[in-house]
Symmetry: C2
Subunit: 432 residues, 2 copies
Amino acid sequence: MSEILRVGIAGLGTVGAAVTRLLQRQTEALTARTGRRIVVTAACVKDQSKQRDADLSNIEFYADPVALASSEKIDLFVELIGGSEGPARASVETALAHGKSVVTANKALLAAHGLHLTQLAEENHAALAFEASVAGGIPIVKTLREGLAGNSVLRVYGILNGTCNYILSRMEREQLSFETCLSEAQKLGYAEADPTFDIGGFDTAHKLSILTSLAFGTRISPEAIDIEGIERVTLADIEAAEDLGFRIKLLGVAQRTAEGIEQRVHPTMVSKNSAIAQVMGVLNAVTIDGDAVHELTLVGPGAGGDATASAVVADIADIAKGVRTAPFGLPSSQLKELKRMPMRRHEGGYYIRLSVRDVAGAFARIASRMAERKISLESIMQRGRRGSPGDCVDVILITHATSEHLVREALELIFEDGTIVARAQVIRIERE
Amino acid sequence: MSEILRVGIAGLGTVGAAVTRLLQRQTEALTARTGRRIVVTAACVKDQSKQRDADLSNIEFYADPVALASSEKIDLFVELIGGSEGPARASVETALAHGKSVVTANKALLAAHGLHLTQLAEENHAALAFEASVAGGIPIVKTLREGLAGNSVLRVYGILNGTCNYILSRMEREQLSFETCLSEAQKLGYAEADPTFDIGGFDTAHKLSILTSLAFGTRISPEAIDIEGIERVTLADIEAAEDLGFRIKLLGVAQRTAEGIEQRVHPTMVSKNSAIAQVMGVLNAVTIDGDAVHELTLVGPGAGGDATASAVVADIADIAKGVRTAPFGLPSSQLKELKRMPMRRHEGGYYIRLSVRDVAGAFARIASRMAERKISLESIMQRGRRGSPGDCVDVILITHATSEHLVREALELIFEDGTIVARAQVIRIERE
């Protein structure tokens, strides 16, 4: 091992500039910690003339990330380009094929090619590290892979998308509609002009697929995730949740069941007293249920240049020390095929909001349809008041644990009965 | 590296039995993760005939922990005896001197001899790991040492003693006195017959000294901690805290200041909305303020056989993989002498409860004494009512940030004025 670790960074946006600054600011401390001097020697940017908030005076610039990745002038390649294909994939593959260690924050790349990249890293004796790809500054990858190495994980779940959590927190605190909060988030730069990737749950799903692989020793399988976004959460649901002792969060949940691994992303009712319910605004949080540790929760910033750089630099420091850990905790040959547990078999409690026309007979009709499907109700209540006889009111059901397919069947029957005038709102309840 | 890692465990109490069970239950998974088979081959117990909840059939028993520590039949020594001297210290020193790696949960030993043991480990190329010594199952040692390696830590603070947190939570929730809750905790086995070590803050201080060294790269210095226990917290304080938007927690706090490192353990007012305030009962939590990550909080079980075993086994797994990390993150020669920041120079907000005889003139006299010392008040209020003219009432002050010595001086003057009839209750406020 040479005394200097030469780092090449592809992408000097917010995170890349923050990584460069942090490595420069912490040079002495990192040398003391790792025994090596970590120096950013090269970088790849689209526009070299752009002003960046870091000292780039001794950095060699490359126009092509693949050229940087294969350069003999770097020992470690940091990929901060983004995207699952194109230059990000090509440059990471090139670096690994050249035996260079890779640190990346690219969740989309890992979700799509995590297993392949792990194999490539193994074949070339290179490290592949991606702490920054999930939950920003929270060291959740290290925690699952090393800190809980002795545990059999039963469930891992978390708030993995700050945009959604900002919107849901804002709706609750300010009693504003989803649309209002989304456009606010866009003005503040928390949400993209096309917010689908965040609010549709796809960003959370990418991150969840990485956590699932780490937690259960399975091959990364984003296609096996059931995904629902937060677009259909209304103020009526938020208010009902509040009254019932819940809060609504967009969670990514991966859970071991007797029949396979359940991976799901959806708006979720969590107890107002749970640790995860306290996480407001753009923060992220992850809770792990392990057979030994029981429940562990980590809360911190899920995005932002400095927080993400904290995770990138921690990975670089481990590599500088010579630590080589299997990217997903196990040699790739031992990662098991994920046996998918279909969502219709999901077992849990449900919050159901029904828009009901004739309240007088409705309770009985709804309750009997539920009973037919052996769904036991914790509560059934009317919310709001009718103005005039023809108006609809909301009826809220909270069920005890039951199967998703039974709930779907019962709701289908209730709809066919003409008891409700619109599609039911169904939000799963996650217990601590 | 041989394929089998032979583990010897000194102490098969709750934690030792749980470690043995966990290593046995997870043998296959740990072999896959570490590339080695981890086997408990030997143990040292006082009473070999005692029934224990683990399979001990292939384990060789030693009567003397020092003999076990030097045995050629083990590669790794797990110390679960406890205490800063005696057999714990002797056996750990022996194991390290023989080049055997050591995993320990012994906070008292580390607080007293952490630097010496680190040097001994370095000289003999042995690992020394102690994840279980602080906050039980929470991987806080790994997080500070590795997960936040790129950060300059500004402050680390936490709820590190489950007994105290149980008592304070119970007082708040059930409106019970300190004495009632303490005797409840003793009945439930959460507190010792002599509870001084827990409720006096000494256990928290041991753990804090370890966190301080990891966070700031300083030599472990438990003697430089200012310690106050929770014995003087009354229901009146808990209720006033509630009304003012605070909750009272026993915190260990280590903070970098311009003049040195402040290490302190005391009952603390924390905002009811903070992550740490949500931590109730026997749980532990640690928050780290880093310059890059900003704020990260970990919440989990601080004690219990299984949770502590989770941490012990994670350390064993790292060692099995061949990972060698400096115990406190830096080579011992680079750990700096801790420059102590005296408590009287502490800057922060204060909650002050005064028992006042003559309320009419008291507000003015108190406020003017505070003003003389340039202490700016956020609020001053009376709580409770006088029954008859001679009775005392509580006056509560909340100050803006000021210096501890100014507060002490002002309170001295207020006492000399005859305004108050008893020693003032002073509880520091910790802001997020």
